[in-house]
Symmetry: C2
Subunit: 435 residues, 2 copies
């Protein structure tokens, strides 16, 4: 680490919104950062695809590189900040080149850490280098530091959160306006809250990247993105949101990792949460993460999960850690000690469920459905049906909530229910999480 | 710091609830803690007033000391954990002796840090020792680490929070049941949520201790407890809570430190906060702290602010920092660089206000009050009066909310209003905070 009065040299790979935000932060708050670090943090090199593009910022003080891997290997930087994105390709090559040439790495790249976190953590630790990824999860919320250090005295039993602002914005807007998914998505795209191709966000992949990182930190397991059960929000309807409200719930896209007797569950899915749970009140583009530990109880942190400012705040916090000489195991314990194979398959997951059916309004239909549930030993908590169909045999929605049951039993029951002629649409199932 | 396979030795001074909780945590979670530290954390010495007391725990593995100062100086510990309490006397002497003999210190003692934090921070830093005090503020919430490290890239503009669980429990219960302060306090005492002598909690002193620590961390100023403006919750009535609700607010006891053009304000007082502000939803004994930074925006963390488990979680997090060799300036910048004299007096504070008067129901009374406000250039936002007195001249409550005005003008206006014969009780003023 640099001594007092010296300089920590930074090379920035990728000059998108977050890369530029980081440059702006380091310039605007340089004095206060220097007083906190005992040294200056100075950008010496930058790299992006197009040198000629106008970025509204004078880049002439920095040495320009066309190739991030060359910059990572050959620049005089102490730290390479990777903002290229993507789990492989140039991002991965840049991070490997930086670590390989003895440079610390700070990245905002959740896909990279979700897919290669264990390997990169080992590489960094073998060479006694920092691999900072605070910005990869929940933007400005310092949840990596909180889990790795602030709550390090606890056995974590569950960690869950609203990890994707786009999805939370859409669900919030659907509830507030009563409109359906497609319409609200189109609006979110027009407002810039959703991408032109929104699938990473609304199909739960982005949240799953982040969840797999939190799981490793919380439970000391290898980062295992492939084991995450993923469901997005495309199938959540205005009707479901209204029924949930009537039953005392909000619908949130949660990423949840919890320790069961059989192992670790990692799942991203729309979830019914009680209205009075703190996370139910987290609305719009905000993110929130809850960690539950054996001594600390439940700690929730809420804040902006994306955007140039919050993400730059997290990137530079990692740089300040490096400047201060703070070094922790990448995932709270040494990467070489992370355990493998502790994940349990989703069939074993047990929870209460919300089912919504469209059935023909005929005598005996509910009895048939109830019999299927009984045969699978699924215990019903409540049945909700409003009014009647307009004519005998017309379609009416019926909502059933169940007591705790396994995913395996529920899957079988849903197959049988879907096969009834009197059930007019595929049944919709949403899990209820006890918080 | 101890190397791999070695041991960090701890001496614990004070075996009350939190001291015992810390011993229990270190025993129960010793394996996971060792895997995170790369070394064992082992208690080697303890000290309390009464050796013969049954604490439900076998203390024979630990060397017993009758005098904490002797333990701090002469034991073989690497770290002294101070849980004695009190801003001076044996707590202070123990911490000074520990630092003086080259031992790190971890303390849960907010009064000690509020009164002597700057001096003790200097002493620790001169000797290259850690002075950990995560447990002194907001129990299990890792707000010290969050401000010192997680948000270190930001200029903090305001930090505020619900810093006293007893007061928040009382205010929550008053709102939920409509009962008045004295009755709810008596119930809280019976339930163990309030002390037999509750004054430190309900008069705002405990919150002010914590706030003064947050201020130093957030703004790089010396810890300055004496400059905190303190008002407690004794005068908050059920009537005020009901009127606040009608106006769209909750009443919370907040500790607020903010940066103004003139300097730093530090204040603890009952506060009207908009119902849809995240902190308005923090109920019961829970604590929450919000930090606002120039890049991160607003980050709120909520959790248990007291109790053996959460406090032990924070104490041991500081121990793990020491075991990992993590060392930061005590208050984010070196204690010798903390600035003095940046506090602004409360007369200069500007905010919107809620006023509640009991006036005689006679023509002209409101006009007289309004004239006083006009003379002090205080602009009225709303006036609320329900129904009429039972007879002409009977007492009716009137609530006035104002636009932004200085504390100085408000104090003058309140003196004049109180002097009217038609104003039957001293006017009640509560500040409204824009969140």
């Amino acid at each position: 680490m640099p001594g007092l009065g010296e300089t920590l040299r930074i090379a920035v790979a990728g000059l998108g919104t977050v890369g530029l935000g980081t440059l702006q932060l380091l310039r605007k708050d340089s004095e206060v950062i220097a007083s906190r670090c005992g040294c200056r943090i100075e950008v010496t090199a930058v790299c992006a695809r197009d040198r000629s593009k106008d970025r509204g910022m004078d880049l002439s003080p920095f040495k320009w590189f066309d190739d991030p891997v060359v910059m990572a290997s050959e620049s005089d930087a102490d730290v390479v900040v990777e903002m290229i994105g993507g789990s492989d390709g140039p991002a991965r090559a840049t991070v490997e080149a930086a670590l390989g040439s003895g440079k610390h790495v700070v990245t905002a790249n959740k896909a990279l850490i979700a897919h290669h976190g264990t390997t990169l953590g080992r590489l960094a630790e073998e060479r006694d280098l920092n691999l900072g990824y605070e910005a990869a999860v929940a933007g400005g919320i310092p949840i990596i530091k909180t889990l790795r250090e602030g709550l390090a005295a606890n056995r974590i039993t569950r960690v869950y959160g609203i990890l994707n602002g786009t999805s939370n914005y859409i669900l919030t807007s659907m509830r507030e306006t009563g409109r359906d998914f497609a319409e609200v998505l189109a609006e979110a795209q027009a407002l810039g809250y959703a991408e032109v191709d929104p699938s990473f966000d609304i199909d739960g992949v982005d949240a799953a990247h982040k969840l797999s990182i939190l799981t490793a930190l919380a439970f000391g397991s290898e980062v295992d993105f492939d084991s995450v059960h993923i469901e997005g929000i495309r199938d959540v309807s205005a009707l479901d949101i209204a029924f949930a409200d009537e039953l005392g719930y909000r619908i949130k896209l949660l990423g949840i990792a919890n320790l069961t007797d059989g192992g670790i569950e990692q799942r991203v899915h729309p979830t019914l949460v009680a209205k009075d749970a703190p996370i139910a009140a987290v609305e719009g583009v905000f993110n929130a993460v809850v960690a539950e530990g054996d001594f600390v109880g439940s700690i929730m942190t809420e804040g902006q999960g994306a955007g140039a400012g919050p993400t730059a705040s997290a990137v530079v916090a990692d740089l300040i850690d490096i400047a201060r000489g703070l070094k922790c195991p990448t995932f709270a314990i040494p990467a070489s000690s992370l355990e493998r194979g502790r994940m349990v398959p989703m069939e074993r997951h047990v929870s209460c469920h919300y089912l919504r059916l469209h059935v023909q309004d005929l005598p005996g239909v509910i009895a048939d459905v109830a019999a299927v549930l009984r045969d699978e030993r699924i215990s019903v908590e409540s049945i909700l049906q409003h009014g009647r169909g307009e004519a005998e045999g017309a379609s009416v929605p019926v909502v059933i909530t169940t007591h705790e049951t396994s995913q395996a039993a529920m899957t079988k029951a849903l197959e049988k229910i879907a096969a009834f002629d009197t059930v007019l649409e595929p049944p919709r199932m949403i899990r209820i999480e006890a918080l």
